[in-house]
Amino acid sequence: MEHLNDEGVRAILYQVLFVLLAGMAVWYLASNTISNLEKQNVATGFSFLNLEAAFGISETMVDYEPSDTYAHALYVGFLNTVKVSAYGIIFTSIIGVIFGIARLSHNLLVRSVATVYVDIFRNIPILLQLMFWYALIINVFPHPKKALNPFSDVFLTNRGIYVPIPEPHPAYMWMLIAAVVGCIGAYFLKKWADKRQAETGQPFPTIIAGFGVVFGCALFAYVIGGMPTAIDTPALKGFGLRGGWNMSPEFVALFVGLTVYTSTYVAEIVRSGILAVPKGQWEAAESLGLKRSYILRHVVLPQSMRVAIPPLTNQFLNLTKNSSLAVAIGYPDIVSVANTTMNQTGQAIEAILIFMTVYLTLSILTSLFMNWFNAKMALVER
């Protein structure tokens, strides 16, 4: 009995007890549910995944037919979720940083515009914003037959945006590979430029040169690949426009809604990050005679990143999770497809389990990446 007075032993004992109790509670709920479902004759298990889905999905990144399985339909939904989240996160970051900096601008107009933007879009529930954007697109833009035509062969309609794209050709694959090679080249160019600057003090226009390398490589591959010029142009056929590249109103509404909403939070995080950098850093850099834009980019932003990254991770996770509101405006994301599946098969628990797993996985992956990034950006103490 003496051991029970030992602080270390007791700590372990409490933890073991807690895990046991929690486990038992979960086990009780689960077995109770299963036996209830069995009693009610509700089908259980995941075998439904191999049955024919038999419903259509409007936009898919991989081939999908109603004759495919539920598993494939859910995969299509998953890809749609990933697509809107990935685009959303990229554009949210860019727009958020711009507005965050703009809120601290010395220019009254820029500052006011940024403040109004943030205050408006941050304070309206995201679901209402999605419905607003969706209603705006389908009610304001015209029918394909009277499509707005801002540039030749670009069409804005209530069925989405249509732009011409080059017809498939092997040269484009080579261009992509060349661009990747170019990126690697640009990375080494930057290393070299940094080293030279450290040694000689000579600056090097890394950004322009880097873009030059990437585009140069791609252009080279394009010329070598035979310079394909065939273009797939959207044209009126049957009920609407066919051909070209199409972004559906559902995707645009969801993407714009999520990006605008989340970017206001990102803007505030960026602003607080910048304000967290002591004024002395600005003054020190100014006294060296550096330009304001140069100070911002090389002195202040790198330091503010350290403050901003953890809350930014949160916003990226929020954006991914908020994409499930797609159900309200008919974008076929994982929740929408899983909902339909649940309704056609009656297997609610399994379907919910699937999309919970999807969001959990996406969130954990995002967190892991951001943690890695955070560690990389963190102040290295020497």
Partner: protein
């Protein structure tokens, strides 16, 4: 395998709370709480279930629940309504949130089996149709290749749509929005070329939600069979019997010529069938575990099937009886013998 399954469900449950245990004896529960909890269409589907200007639910689906309440309590008003979307309806019934689902729901084999539900009967024979803007000049569903189609998710409609286009080797793009009013709004805004649902639903929407009904036509093709009827949980036969025979009583009453107006006079009828139905000769009520006046109360307070149809479907949507007429007049409505 069982362990795996339990684990899987366990993790789902830690985040999603299940609604409390479902009792196997619905009729006792209903009697105890004093009302029937009835799941109806929340999309204001005129003719089937909608709220009138006095704030009262009405429609042919609503009448099923009122009939059950009249049979159990002798008072058709003892019903509480839960408006549901197509996607919510089955879970609401499975979990015990509602006692009976009367929400223009199609009777299919997999719903009857895998969902753990039982269909009670058919209160409206329907079929799926298409509504399209007249200006597009389409005369037949066969001309719909490449069309964008607005449809509600989680419905048989969604599946029939895919089947029909597959069978006819046509392409289509579905626009799938959960809320029925939002689907119709998307169609009206021109997001879709076509709106598809049960033909009665199209008629109902055209009457109520479409600003210029004459600009829209309903295509002649009916692409499916949609027997719509109320649903209860599997494994509660007593409750299913009550629901089934409440519906049957309404059809039987029409066959026998008993209406809400003449039901009191009919109590003096010499027809032994009428005497049994109205409880003048005892027996049927006891068999169902109800008051002998059960059918009398239904007919008196809700009316017979024909009255219900006239008041809600014919008067509001202008749809003739058609296949929903009595079998004696060439329709499909046929009351099994109440004896």
């Amino acid at each position: 395998m069982k362990v795996l399954k339990t684990l899987a469900v366990a993790s789902a449950l830690t985040a999603t709370a299940m609604v409390g245990a479902v009792s196997a004896d619905t009729v006792d529960d209903v009697k105890k709480k004093g009302f029937v909890q009835c799941g109806v269409n929340g999309g204001n589907l005129t003719g089937f279930s909608s709220v009138n200007d006095k704030g009262v639910w009405e429609g042919i689906d609503v009448d099923v629940c009122r009939a059950v309440a009249a049979a159990v309590f002798g008072d058709a008003s003892k019903v509480k309504y839960t408006p549901l979307t197509a996607q919510q309806r089955f879970t609401a019934l499975q979990s015990g949130e509602i006692d009976i689902l009367s929400r223009n729901t199609t009777w299919t084999l997999s719903r009857d089996t895998k969902l753990g539900l039982n269909f009670v009967g058919v209160n409206f024979y329907d079929g799926q149709g298409f509504m399209i803007k007249k200006a597009l000049g389409v005369k037949s569903a066969k001309e719909l290749d490449g069309a964008t189609v607005c449809v509600e998710p989680g419905t048989t409609t969604e599946l029939n749509l895919a089947d029909y286009f597959r069978a006819n080797k046509m392409a289509f793009k579905p626009v799938v929005i959960e809320n029925m009013n939002e689907v119709v709004a998307a169609y009206l805004a021109g997001r879709c070329d076509v709106y598809t649902t049960d033909a009665s639903g199209l008629a109902s929407q055209r009457m109520t939600s479409v600003p210029n009904p004459d600009d829209h036509i309903i295509l002649p093709e009916i692409i499916s069979k949609e027997p719509l009827g109320p649903v209860v949980r599997h494994g509660d036969d007593k409750w299913m019997d009550i629901a089934r025979w409440s519906m049957t009583a309404m059809v039987e009453a029409e066959e026998k010529g008993i209406t809400s107006k003449n039901v009191d006079a009919m109590l003096k009828s010499n027809d032994p069938g009428i005497k049994r139905l109205l409880g003048v000769t005892a027996g049927l009520g006891e068999a169902l575990g109800l008051d002998e006046k059960w059918a009398y109360n239904i007919i008196k307070q809700v009316g017979n099937y024909g009255e219900s149809y006239e008041m809600h479907i014919k008067a509001k949507l202008g749809l003739d009886r058609g296949v929903n007429d009595l079998w004696t007049r060439g329709g499909l409505m046929y009351a099994n013998p109440a004896r």
